[in-house]
Point group: D2
Chain length 336, copies 4
Amino acid sequence: MNFKSDNAASVCPAVLDAILSAAPSAAAAYDDDEWSSRLDGAFSALFGHDCTVLPVNTGTAANALALAAMVPGYGAVVCETDAHIHVDECGAPEFFTGGAKLLLVKGEHGRLTPERLAAGLAAHRGDAHQVQIGALSLTQATEAGTVYTPDMVAALAAHAKARGWRVHMDGARFANAVAHLGCHPGDVTWRAGVDVLSFGAIKNGGMTAEALVVFAPDLAPRLRFLRKRAGQMPSKGRFQAAQLLAMIEGDVWLANARAANAAAAQLAAAAGARLRYPVEANELFLKMHPGEVSRLRAQGFDFYDWGDAGSDEIRLVTAWDIPPAHVAALAEALEQ
Amino acid sequence: MNFKSDNAASVCPAVLDAILSAAPSAAAAYDDDEWSSRLDGAFSALFGHDCTVLPVNTGTAANALALAAMVPGYGAVVCETDAHIHVDECGAPEFFTGGAKLLLVKGEHGRLTPERLAAGLAAHRGDAHQVQIGALSLTQATEAGTVYTPDMVAALAAHAKARGWRVHMDGARFANAVAHLGCHPGDVTWRAGVDVLSFGAIKNGGMTAEALVVFAPDLAPRLRFLRKRAGQMPSKGRFQAAQLLAMIEGDVWLANARAANAAAAQLAAAAGARLRYPVEANELFLKMHPGEVSRLRAQGFDFYDWGDAGSDEIRLVTAWDIPPAHVAALAEALEQ
Amino acid sequence: MNFKSDNAASVCPAVLDAILSAAPSAAAAYDDDEWSSRLDGAFSALFGHDCTVLPVNTGTAANALALAAMVPGYGAVVCETDAHIHVDECGAPEFFTGGAKLLLVKGEHGRLTPERLAAGLAAHRGDAHQVQIGALSLTQATEAGTVYTPDMVAALAAHAKARGWRVHMDGARFANAVAHLGCHPGDVTWRAGVDVLSFGAIKNGGMTAEALVVFAPDLAPRLRFLRKRAGQMPSKGRFQAAQLLAMIEGDVWLANARAANAAAAQLAAAAGARLRYPVEANELFLKMHPGEVSRLRAQGFDFYDWGDAGSDEIRLVTAWDIPPAHVAALAEALEQ
Amino acid sequence: MNFKSDNAASVCPAVLDAILSAAPSAAAAYDDDEWSSRLDGAFSALFGHDCTVLPVNTGTAANALALAAMVPGYGAVVCETDAHIHVDECGAPEFFTGGAKLLLVKGEHGRLTPERLAAGLAAHRGDAHQVQIGALSLTQATEAGTVYTPDMVAALAAHAKARGWRVHMDGARFANAVAHLGCHPGDVTWRAGVDVLSFGAIKNGGMTAEALVVFAPDLAPRLRFLRKRAGQMPSKGRFQAAQLLAMIEGDVWLANARAANAAAAQLAAAAGARLRYPVEANELFLKMHPGEVSRLRAQGFDFYDWGDAGSDEIRLVTAWDIPPAHVAALAEALEQ
């Protein structure tokens, strides 16, 4: 019974069907095919705003490319201390940007605020001896499993824009966030000031495609070259495009995310006071009682330890396809 | 009737079946799945030599990563003037290596020789004012549609090794080369001195995976990090691994390449004296008679102009799935 | 009366004489001159160990080159939170290394310890998703004006070496540290495990040259190329070499540093309880009483505010050439 | 009797005096001193146009920084096949630009023309698979010792600007070119379309400073950060500024260059038909008769062999301080 990662999930039928339908016949290479040509329109309709969509292979590539379009090598990106771009991408943002620095600010329950940005960066002078802050990167849903509301994003983006920074959103679990908020996807992105969104699909039932959704038209042209130069322009681009179209057409992305969120909510109710943060997406962070961790594992539940060694902290992740019986079993185990 | 590019080809059934079988159930993320764990063994068996296999998304990523493992930023890579890494990768090798330079040497029918290397690099002093040559990159089959024999590769690699250079092979059409040579794949790679091979699969019936085949064990560890940092370590790695396994198991890669080569040979016989180079793989470069180009297009044949404007030169590419009727029609048109 | 920075100091006569003697006649370019050829020998004699010396133009270049020789682009350098390489070099270490990350650990009075390293990096897993730590950078004297003893450096270097990291010492004020310690310069560098030292000269009476002193012979060859590629190989290299030779011959470097340290000690005695850290070199950090800062400025003393806005904290720096009368005047003002 | 390189020359008295006058007293660090503050004004007056001046340590740094301000990492710089930026800078342009490519076009007598650019780049498609040309770099005087007239520069810059490229001039021997042309320095730079000039001083009697002269105001801001990040912002900046001011005040730069050019002209008259190119600055390239080379060396003349091994080709360079007796002796030897 696997609660380790939504990265381990299966591929959803809609995505698989789309791949199958694109496979048997030849199609023009390098994004000149019919699937790729529909991407911009489909995402623009979804978000209610003209955007340019660039499929990539991984969330790391999406994030690093977005940041490379925003800041020069002598630039800096502000992000939360535990952000994936800082902790889990092996320096990809530094590589793609040509050496820009990530400046870390601690959030509350994973969420940055304008006040925390101001305090955390108070010592940054910004003169010629220092890197030049050029972007703010927000993770939605956050690394703590919480979600920024449209108002929260708007306040942060306003803070950024007032300083000349661009705004990136790492949306590896963007679907889970929107499913939680129940808002229009535009409300929490371009309407709130987001310039580029890394739209996650793989954790949410996709196979091998994430989408870079570019709302700021000035950033799109250079991203075409940055993407190719990063080895992220596939010759058979239709297979990435087809996955992404299948994901958003018929709102598969929201349906999948709702399933994952519902499982997380069920577990959250059972976890009670063990919860370290509000559960707003599909991740739970629990501070366990002594002995509980090994007992759960002995019962067949698999998950990651979290936090410092010996902290009795664990992470649970619910994927879109998690079997209800597994969720019920874990909820029951937690309630005992 | 499409003779533009094997990049436009369909996906072969074996690859598709492999993807389908990997999709429905969950599997450990980040190459900890059963498909990924079989890659090294399967390719080691195929090549008759221990190797490390790293799947990537594009040939550009494969090439750029291989070179980044071989040369430092102050280094240089020697390649043929028309090499894909120089002409068609938007500077990816320079990006991945941190700024290494490509030093160009003109080949004969696309093939470098030790003599051409010596002459072409005679003016390179190699003192501290200059970049330091660290690698030779060969394209197999070449950009001219010709093929290096094992002896040719061995002579070039010996030239390289005597100077302390590593040897990379860009094998976007490696299958076509081996199908032409009829040799063991190890004969023209590690036995001849190749350190890393970019093993092409996408043009040859694959979907979204190429393989970096690392024969030199000292280069493998750093490639794991370079790959992740390049955004090329997918969370659902089983879908790349499954494609690659399907391609080499049962020699699908050779069967597909033989089909493409046979079509090219049929066209070559028809093209006769128009051929600029020997046809040894699945590309043909033809110097056409005046008026012929537009007449062929009017008959429904699609292909690229090649060479300088007004040169009446064209390129024809035959993919693994090219319909025999299309080939026969074009052969007949050329014979008239 | 200037207590802002030793970077503002005059050039000492020995350095000036050396420049003058090298200027009037021609000499071979690019380090083939007689001054440059004596550098390795002179520094090897000074440190009691064979070393390679590479003159550079700035401390930033020295530090960034040293780190670039130690870690790959996917690497990381551990340093103190306030280290110059992190705060004041506009991302030069990231640029020169090709994007390596600086991992920050807070020291005590500016000094790292093995325990602080272990605690501060406990969450760093070091798997393929993360940057690979490859170097520890120590600042001697520290950013807090304190000094590492040979034992402290040895303990830190042992911690580093046990993990496969290299050790860099940013010695912008190395002379002040050695003058304070009264030890042999080798005791606090190579004997304690330092691989490369950025030997500061400019703040200490030099004009335009710092020295990269390479104790680890495996790092020297690549530094020659890294230096040239960074635009740090001057055609008239004799003017950098002559400055560095003048600085160490006759122990000018120690005499100058002792003068600066003595002035700082005189001020420290007067500052009393205002001192935030022990004064062991030529920098003082003072927590002032309300009103004192403006009163000192009104008396003609110039210096930097430090720390957060409104913290009443200041920094005082004493250069090698600070007029004794200025020091006495400030000491008297502080004692009132 | 040294005809190897003007890099070996002595430092001229005006430069030395300026350094001496800046040395004895303290001055604000990091370009806040009185010398640095006069730089922009002095060069703006000299060129008849507002410009920003950034002193650097080497010509390589000047060139690489200029190009880094002009092109992104996926960009390309067009230059002559033998350009110093390609042949003698150990990949510095690639490093500073983040991996941009140098595209080479062969000139005539070292000089590019719009026609040669058009022909040499005819095969460059410029689509997303290729690097994007963003700058043209001209060397003035050229690597062949010839000089671009203002009309020639204007025609090349017009060709560049029509394509959206910026124009850089590598003026390591700019003074020699202007001395030859007898024109206003603005005529052959900003008036002709040059955006940034690497103004050489070191070969021409300077010591350790070259000037980046930025005519295009949009490029200046980012160059401040690029320069610092490259370790090229010295704490005691007054010593670079003082050298540069001394060089242009009283037209020392032109006087020195005229002396060097006159010596070259004297040798050119003696060399006669041996000359490979017109002698317009202070470099001569001679195709010698068999036996002549060793005879000249036996007579005490020192110089570099040039071209391919066994080609009997040599290079002679005359510096600003070359003793007239040496020139006369060599002229006489050549006339025999």
